[in-house]
């Protein structure tokens, strides 16, 4: 399909998702009197979020270091007709406040948008600050939508799309220093995967920070004569079943790439779809082995786990032999 170009210049087009997302949040709060923004000691002592915190005392809140409160307060604002965005460190949001997500967002079925930052291993702060479980968790909670944008610009598109989307959404953003995948405009729809590169020999289905690295891998493989497609599976739930089935039928070799525990994540969800559809295809899952990775920044961990372009290319090549 293609139709647009993707970014192939390594770190040159690096974006800062947090800044871009912050700018978008500020814009939404200012433009839409129904948008609220709730943080957990992330307002900052000065800066753009602090400014709106001062300016809109009943619509821009900071609950302090109290993630459980954050989630339920957001649910209550949604019940009152507001569109709340609640943002904090991923692990404390989706693990510590899981009871609140399960009951107050999902069971009560209220349109809260949770933004969990530092997705996967991107924090570099060790297992307490890594978030490696949320795909599996959110996938098994009824009413939830789970999104993992791959770059800052997609975050912005996703925030816009979320304004009118029903029910609760968990948005997983990485550290915020990921290179841009896309450098031209494109249509973005929650639940609709994007084929960022066509290919006939195999398909990499990637999400979040894995999309950029998968593209790098596909380029390396091109040089070695392997024509690999890359799909940006930005929505984990509801998963785009058609895209998976089509890819399986077209190439027969699927590789999933995610910065998430290998168990219960994108790879497992893709496997579910394949089995249920009865489509014969081979599947290789690239993800975090079922273990706690104690030390290291993503720049080191990604190559170590084979998540970087060359690492993914090596795995794909072996798989397609």
């Amino acid at each position: 399909m293609a139709g647009f170009t993707f970014n192939i210049t390594d770190m040159a087009a690096m974006m800062n998702a947090k800044d871009v997302v912050t700018k978008k949040i500020v814009e939404l709060v200012k433009e839409n009197p129904k948008v609220c923004y709730i943080n957990s000691d992330g307002t900052g002592h000065s800066g753009p979020i602090r400014d709106i915190y001062e300016a809109y005392p009943d619509r821009v809140l900071d609950v302090g270091i109290a993630e459980m409160n954050l989630v339920t307060v957001a649910a209550a604002m949604a019940k009152k007709g507001y569109i709340p965005f609640g943002q904090t460190f991923g692990p404390f949001l989706c693990v510590r406040a899981l009871d609140q997500i399960h009951n107050d967002l999902a069971y009560n079925d209220l349109p809260v948008r949770l933004i969990g930052t530092h997705g996967g291993l991107t924090s570099g702060y060790g297992p307490t600050h890594n978030t490696i479980v949320e795909f599996g968790i959110m996938n098994s909670i009824p009413n939830m939508t789970m999104i993992a944008p791959c770059d800052a610009n997609q975050c912005v598109k996703m925030l816009d799309a979320s304004l009118t989307y029903p029910g609760p959404i968990y948005i997983r953003i990485p550290r915020g220093e990921e290179p841009a995948v896309y450098n031209t405009d494109y249509d973005y729809q929650i639940g609709k995967a994007i084929e960022v590169k066509a290919g006939k020999d195999a398909t990499i289905i990637a999400t979040g920070s894995g999309v950029y690295n998968s593209l790098q891998a596909a380029l390396l493989l091109q040089e070695q004569g392997l024509d690999v497609a890359v799909i940006d599976m930005h929505t984990i739930k509801p998963i785009d079943k058609d895209a998976i089935v089509k890819a399986a039928q077209a190439t027969g070799n699927l590789i999933t790439v995610e910065d998430h525990n290998i168990l219960g994540g994108l790879g497992s969800i893709v496997a579910d779809v394949l089995m249920e559809a009865g489509v014969p295809a081979r599947l290789k899952k690239i993800g975090i082995p079922d273990t706690f990775i104690s030390l290291g920044y993503p720049e080191e961990i990604y190559p170590y786990l084979g998540f970087d372009g060359p690492g993914i290319a090596k795995t794909v090549l072996e798989f397609c032999k």
Binding site: D58, R59, L61, V63, G64, A66, M68, N69, V71, T72, V73, A74, A75, A76, M77, K79, K80, G81, Y82, D99, Q100, H102, N103, D104, Y107, N108, D109
Partner: protein
């Protein structure tokens, strides 16, 4: 199904007796239900629904309404009995179809199934956090109605409560009224057997709340306390208010009060129901003898 407004205390006492009977009949006809906690919270909840909230069974979504958040969600049967009494729902739906697939009423209230329920609860320690969000939303729109939250003393062991408690006082959300039904018994322990509060009132005070500790079995005292709540004034906000309502689990039914730990959940047969209704009538008559 018009709005009910019981002005005088004897009428509220009589209504509390009716609701207690409704709860106990449910324990006969619906099967095992949570019973001790709903009975201890009956008096103050009746005073709110039949007098102070101006609750309108025909207009439960009015943005300016007072709200009642049942944080101790296992007291659903108390609200169901009030709603059935008001004609919002049918007693037979409650008694014949309790916890049945495709029906209305279950052990914990679901806001989508039971009209009148503000939020689906059941997991403890969520109600006050809901109140914080509602309080901000109302203040943002200049709505000065109150948000009442009913909690259990056992429930106060949940840490999430204290996140909301410190936040609400810090941000002067004085449109919240927290009510702790201090019935001195959780599912397993009598007060002080396990967790030591020393003084629950002091705990709330230390977090910046205006605490009023009352005899939650005395409708005159409940009435005075609710009548004397400070006005919600966003320009001169005071502290949020916590009412600690001292009761006994199973309040109104002597044999349950004596062994309250055995009556967290219970069912009654015909004979036991007849005995229980007689006890409730006697208890209600005694309450009418009390003076303000």
């Amino acid at each position: 199904m018009a709005k009910v407004n019981l002005k005088d205390v004897p009428a509220l006492i009589e209504k509390a007796g009716d609701i207690r009977k409704g709860i106990c009949r449910s324990a006969r006809y619906a099967g095992n239900v949570h019973i001790g906690g709903p009975l201890s919270a009956t008096d103050i909840t009746v005073a709110l629904y039949y007098k102070y909230m101006g609750f309108d069974p025909e207009d439960t979504e009015n943005p300016e309404r007072d709200m009642f958040i049942l944080s101790k969600g296992h007291n659903g049967i108390l609200l169901y009995s009030i709603f059935c009494d008001m004609g919002m729902h049918d007693w037979h739906e409650l008694w014949d179809n309790y916890n049945k697939i495709g029906h209305t009423f279950g052990p914990h209230p679901n806001r989508k199934l039971v009209r009148g329920i503000e939020v689906s609860t059941g997991s403890l320690g969520h109600g006050l956090n809901w109140c914080v969000g509602f309080a901000h939303a109302n203040r943002n729109e200049g709505i000065t109605s109150r948000i009442y939250c009913l909690l259990g003393d056992g429930e106060m062991e949940e840490g999430s409560n204290w996140e909301a408690i410190m936040y609400a006082a810090s941000h002067k959300l004085n449109n919240i009224v927290a009510i702790v039904d201090n019935n001195h018994c959780s599912a397993s322990f009598l007060s002080g057997e396990n967790i030591q509060w020393n003084s629950m009132a002091d705990c709330w005070r230390a977090f910046g709340w205006d605490v009023r500790e009352i005899d939650g079995t005395n409708m005159y005292e409940i009435d005075k306390t609710l009548a004397a709540l400070p006005a919600v004034d966003f320009d001169n906000p005071g502290k949020p208010v916590c009412i600690i309502s001292n009761t006994t689990k199973g309040q109104g039914v002597s044999y349950m009060m004596e062994r309250s730990y055995a009556w967290h959940i219970g069912g009654l047969d015909d004979e036991k129901l007849a005995e229980t209704e007689a006890l409730i009538e006697a208890y209600t008559a005694q309450q009418q003898e009390r003076k303000g």
